[in-house]
Amino acid sequence: MASLGDMLFLIITFAILMVLVGKFAFKPVTKMMTDRQDKITNDLDYADNAKKQAADLAAQRQAELQNSQAEAVQIVNTAKANGDKQRQALLDQAQQEVATLKQNAQTDIEQSKQDALNAAKNDVADLSVAIATKIIGKELNASDQQQLIDDYIKGLGDTNGAH
C-alpha cells in the first residue's frame, strides 16, 4: 500500500471539491438555469395564448363588423319599407278624408237644397196667403173668416129681398 496516502488525499480532495462546487456554484446556477427554462416555457405559453386570443378577437371583430354591416343594410331597408308604408297610409288616409269630406259636402248641399226648396215652398204658401190677404184686403183669420162667411150669408139673404 505504498500509495494509499495519495489515493486518500485525491478522494477526499475530490469529495470536498465536489461538495463545495455543488453548494456554491453548481446548485445556484443550475437552479437559475431551470428557473430560466421554466420562465421561457411560461413566456412562450403566454405568448401563444395571447396570440390565440388576439386572433380570436380579430375574428370576432370581423364577424361583428360584417354583422353590423348586414344590420345596417337591414335597418335602412326596414326604414325604407316603413317610410313607404307610412306614406301609403297617409296617402290612403288623405284620400279617404277627401272622399268623406266630399260626401259630407254633397250631403250638406243636398240638405241645403232640400231645405231651400222647403223654405221656398213655405214662403210661396205664405206669400200666396199674403197676396191673397192683400187682395182680399183683410187678413183672414178664423173669426174673420167666420164673419166673412156670415156677411156673405147675410148678403145672400138681403138680395133675396126681405128688406
Partner: protein, 239 residues
C-alpha cells in the same frame, strides 16, 4: 519529472507530495474559478454566468448523451466536477513543472497511474453504488448475467478492463506528453557548441508540443468523463 518524488509519511500512510500539492492547487484553482464565475446568479445571465453555464451545459450534454432518461439528473454535478478536475490536472503540469533538489515537486497529477486509477476506481465504484440505488440489489446482480447467463465471466472481466483502460488511457496520454516535454526541455538545454541552435529549436518545439498537449489534455478529460458516464449508464439504466 525524474521519477523521484518527495514523500511524507503520516499515520503509516505515504503521501507523494508532488501529487498532493498539484491536486490541492488544481482543486483550489477550480473552486476559485467556479466560485468567481458563479457570483450573483440571475435569470438574465451576465458574462461570467454565461461562461459557467456553458461549461455546465457541456458536461450535462455528456451526461445526457449517456443517460437521456431521468437517471442522468443525478450525475450532472459529478460530471461537471470530474471534467474540470481532470482537465485542470491534465493541463497544470504543462505550464509548471518544478524539479528541486533532484526531486519533482510539481507536475500533472494525472501523469501518475495511481491518480488516474483512483479516479477511475471512484467512477466505477460510484457506478456500482448507483446501480444498487437505481435498480436494487437484484437488478444489480442481474446486470452480471445479462443478456445471457454464460456471459457472466465476460461481464466480470469487463469491470476490470473498464477500470484499467479508463485509468491507463488517461495516464498514458498525459505521462507521454510530460515525458516528451521533459525531453524537449533537455534538448533545449543540451548546450555544446551549437547550444543556441538547439535552444531555439527546443523552445519552438516545446511551444508546439505544449499547445498540442493542451489539446490532448482537453480531449482526454472529455473522453474520461464520457466513458465514465457510459459505464455508469450501463449499470444504472435498466435495459
Amino acid at each position: 519529472m525524474n521519477e523521484s518524488y518527495p514523500y511524507l509519511v503520516l499515520f503509516g500512510l505515504r503521501f507523494n507530495l508532488a501529487n498532493c500539492i498539484a491536486i490541492l492547487v488544481s482543486a483550489i484553482l477550480i473552486f476559485a474559478l467556479v466560485f468567481w464565475l458563479s457570483r450573483k446568479p440571475a435569470i438574465r445571465p451576465g458574462k461570467k454566468q454565461n461562461v459557467l453555464e456553458y461549461m455546465i451545459d457541456f458536461t450535462n450534454g455528456i451526461v445526457k448523451g449517456a443517460m437521456p432518461g431521468p437517471e442522468g439528473n443525478r450525475f450532472g454535478l459529478l460530471a461537471f466536477v470530474l471534467f474540470l478536475f481532470v482537465f485542470v490536472n491534465n493541463q497544470i503540469g504543462l505550464f509548471l513543472q518544478i524539479d528541486a533538489g533532484g526531486k519533482t515537486w510539481f507536475r500533472s497529477p494525472t501523469a501518475d497511474p495511481i491518480i488516474t486509477m483512483t479516479l477511475a476506481m471512484t467512477v466505477l465504484l460510484l457506478s456500482h453504488y448507483f446501480a444498487v440505488v437505481f435498480t436494487g440489489f437484484k437488478g444489480y446482480m442481474k446486470g452480471f448475467v445479462s443478456p445471457l447467463a454464460f456471459l457472466a465471466p465476460i461481464n466480470i472481466l469487463e469491470e476490470f478492463t473498464n477500470f484499467v483502460t479508463l485509468a491507463m488511457r488517461l495516464y498514458g496520454n498525459i505521462f507521454a506528453g510530460e515525458v516528451l516535454l521533459l525531453l524537449i526541455r533537455s534538448l533545449a538545454f543540451s548546450g555544446g557548441s551549437m547550444g543556441w541552435l538547439s535552444f531555439i529549436a527546443g523552445f519552438l518545439m516545446e511551444m508546439v508540443w505544449q499547445g498540442f498537449s493542451v489539446f490532448i489534455g482537453s480531449i482526454q478529460a472529455y473522453v474520461f468523463v464520457t466513458l465514465g458516464m457510459v459505464y455508469i449508464s450501463h449499470k444504472v439504466v435498466p435495459e
